[in-house]
Point group: C2
Chain length 490, copies 2
């Protein structure tokens, strides 16, 4: 037992003298993808064993806002009740746009066609949805309502190509953080099914034969490495790599500006590295979600972002995470939200936001911010003209969110990266089929290996296109696909 | 011999019944990194065998402009003769900035300290340098001169942090494409050293033991897979993956807009995949070089790029490849170079460029381009004011390249991606030490395996920071390091 294990090197089958535990499906990680995979595999008749590095279930999902991005098939019951029709094709188109240049059509298609059924499945597992709609611009409901606009659906260029609908479905809970509720219910379901779970158990390395067919996994349980035989498959549901600074430096250096990682603390990339150790491809590893939310209050959506050139650079009615990605690309990552007295407020998540400048005139504000003379003045003058006309030819913001900025004093709220921490997690991960089967760089299936959740590169794979609920939606849905496929091969 | 080989799966040592060829160092690829690696390994006393998939040496280097990015230590003889002092620290700083957020300090340090010695080494191998300086803004010398400004050294923000110097050193040849000359000379050197070379020989898979220690490589020679034992190491010098559309889709989808791949035709990513098959990390796989050169003639540097909002977005005196990266990020990837009659010309590499609009007034040009009313007019008015004042507070273009655009007619040259093919190659590759040793995702050395050239992720690893000569400089210098380390372990 003096052997040193590494996620980057599989234990060869020939080195396994005996198995300590035997099961059909070994699930690594008890976050949302692991929970859903375990439930589905068990229901399909497999023996399932879950290994979780933390002392309790939950993973990063338990710290999340608890929204699922769902729609299509005419709409979920909640969308329909609120009067929104949502065709599969519009839902599909939005998800393809949101997936960016590397969108995975097969995955998006399967999700778009089955998301309504997935909503019912989640309900059946005990995830509570009140079924009510909350209008407005929110990060997630602060009430116990269900349905919110949680992406860039209604904003250019998305709305021009896919008919918008609200698709964020939050679990019922008053206040932020309904992810906790979701994970409590899914954990209860896993327990009620009698699925064997090992906590405080770290997966150390995969076990594979000489052909890299995965046979099991080595897990440290009670301080000892145990060889787990997984007859039908190992499911990597161990999260992303936002906690691993070395991996961030290597794969997603730009993400290191996000100084507020969204994680339960165990997104160390070890699941991804285990997959790579048997030839799995890790894809879109540079992509990450990041946000510095500027709404609510939604009055701030009526402000305009400008960079240090005094230029606008984004339609401010987009998802806050998309706006943040654009801020990161501005010169010196400096940007300010410019407001007048009529809309002035402080963002809910940053009540102590740095007010970088205040002025009685635009000239004064421009000067205080050190912007090139005349640029902010021009930008506001043009914007006010567009607002009057109800059309924004520069950034295509919807008229609903435009009103002339004319009431002094004027102010600039700092969204410079040095002034405002960004919440971030990684989007890159193992390349998989919609079944969860892990692929090599050449697209060959690695027998016996599955990945889901942020261990895999899923629906959300492009920071510019992220919408709240995409990661939970993807993790739960494709966790299920992986669990089912591992159990019964379909 | 009915076995199917894949770059993504190593042949296990236990499956090798006999070796067909034995050598110390097996070099895969006879482009510039392979040539330099072979020379250095041979000179260090090793038996070296080179395997090249094409029927002749050259690789993509032979199709390149033939520039090496060199400086530091007070300057190369050519820099000094032209009156440029270039400290190691300034050279280092520029390379660190050019490497972007994932810059590899150890690699940059070794290169910056040894680039002048490398210049002498290249000369000693027979690479001809005339030793003369050609002022101005060029892609590469059309004359047989040596030294040109080949990056963004003199432009914001680089010049503000690192004292600029011209560092592109081109091999002597009249006209474009001095890479051919370089590869002719290096090939002659390899031959004169009696290094064994196999052409039309495709590397099929690595040979590794159960611990992924690399022992050799399978190469198809005369239609038959041959097992090559490499006692001291296999050197992957097989290029990048710009020819592999599946890999581009997976790893660098944005690069697919580059419809003019810079390659000898064999950059199929197989070298990178072989490295990954034994646990090598592939890093910065999303990054790529791309350019739509807008100069020469340098008069066009005095124009201004605007996007479909009518905004400027880059100081136009930067390297053409950096400007192109910025164009790709503009809304709908549309941008135009705006010129007046005084500077009007057509870019040398695109004499049939689409003139998208011509006008006697800026209002007319703006309208013809369909830009928001008043935006281009404002942008030009402000730019002309800045040009008069000799200072560009918006984009920080150097005053040298600024003159008011006042002589009608005015014109817009289209740099919209749909109108102008982009030359592109990939920058992501295997993670290596400065010695060329390939690393796992956890930073462990894979015994017996080296990578150099675009098979590795080298100095150039950030599209925004590329400068002409970086890839040849990196490939030749770090090819040498790999050859030497494989031969004698230092």
């Amino acid at each position: 037992m003096s052997q040193t294990y590494s996620p980057s090197r599989p234990l060869r089958l020939s080195e396994v003298e005996r198995w300590d535990i035997e099961t059909d499906v070994a699930v690594i990680g008890f976050g949302i993808s692991g929970a859903c995979a375990a439930i589905e595999a068990k229901n399909a008749g497999a023996q399932v064993t879950v290994f979780e590095v933390a002392a309790a279930s939950g993973g990063s999902a338990a710290l999340s806002g608890g929204e699922f991005y769902l729609g299509g098939n005419g709409g979920t019951p909640v969308q329909k009740a609120a009067g929104f029709e949502d065709s599969t094709e519009d839902f599909f188109k939005y998800l393809m746009m949101a997936g960016g240049p590397g969108a995975d059509e097969a995955r998006v298609r399967r999700y778009a066609e089955n998301a309504v059924a997935h909503f019912h499945w989640l309900e059946a597992q005990g995830v509570p949805f009140k079924g009510t709609y909350l209008p407005g611009k929110w990060l997630e409901p602060m009430t116990d309502d269900t349905l919110v606009w949680s992406g860039s659906e209604a904003a250019w260029p998305f709305a021009q190509q896919a008919k918008p609908a609200p698709r964020g479905h939050a679990a019922q809970m008053v206040g932020m953080g309904a992810g906790r509720t979701i994970m409590e219910r899914l954990t209860a379901k896993v327990e009620s099914l009698g699925i064997e779970t090992h906590y405080s158990s770290r997966a150390l390395a995969l076990v594979a034969d000489e052909e890299n067919r995965v046979q099991g996994v080595v897990v440290r349980i009670d301080g000892e490495p145990r060889r787990i035989r997984a007859r039908k498959g190992v499911l990597l549901c161990a999260g992303g790599f936002i906690c691993n600074d070395e991996m961030l430096k290597t794969y997603a250096p730009a993400a290191r500006v996000g100084d507020w990682p969204v994680t339960g603390g165990n997104d160390d990339g070890s699941g991804i590295r285990m997959g790579m150790s048997v030839g799995g491809a890790a894809i879109h590893m540079d992509q990450f979600f990041i946000t510095r939310p500027f709404f609510p209050p939604e009055s701030l959506v009526k402000g305009i972002f400008v960079n240090e050139r005094g230029q606008r650079f984004i339609n401010e009615d987009v998802y806050h995470g998309r706006a943040t990605q654009y801020i990161l690309r501005q010169p010196n990552q400096r940007a300010w939200l410019i407001v007048d007295n009529a809309i002035f407020d402080r963002p809910m998540t940053r009540p102590d936001i740095e007010v970088a400048a205040v002025g009685e005139t635009w000239e004064e504000l421009e000067q205080e911010l050190g912007l090139p003379t005349g640029e902010l003045v021009h930008t506001v003058e043009a914007y006010n003209r567009y607002a009057e006309a109800g059309s924004d030819p520069v950034c295509h913001k919807d008229a609903k969110w435009m009103q002339p900025l004319v009431e002094a004093p004027f102010a600039a709220l700092s969204y410079c990266t040095t002034d405002f921490p960004g919440a971030a997690f990684t989007l890159g991960g193992l390349s998989t089929l919609p079944t969860g089967q892990v692929l090599t760089p050449e697209g060959a299936v690695i027998p016996g290996l599955y990945a889901a959740g942020r261990c895999a590169c899923g629906l959300p794979r492009w920071g510019d296109g992220y919408s709240s609920g995409m990661s939970l939606g993807d993790s739960s849905f494709f966790g299920r696909q992986a669990g089912r496929h591992a159990a019964i091969g379909e």
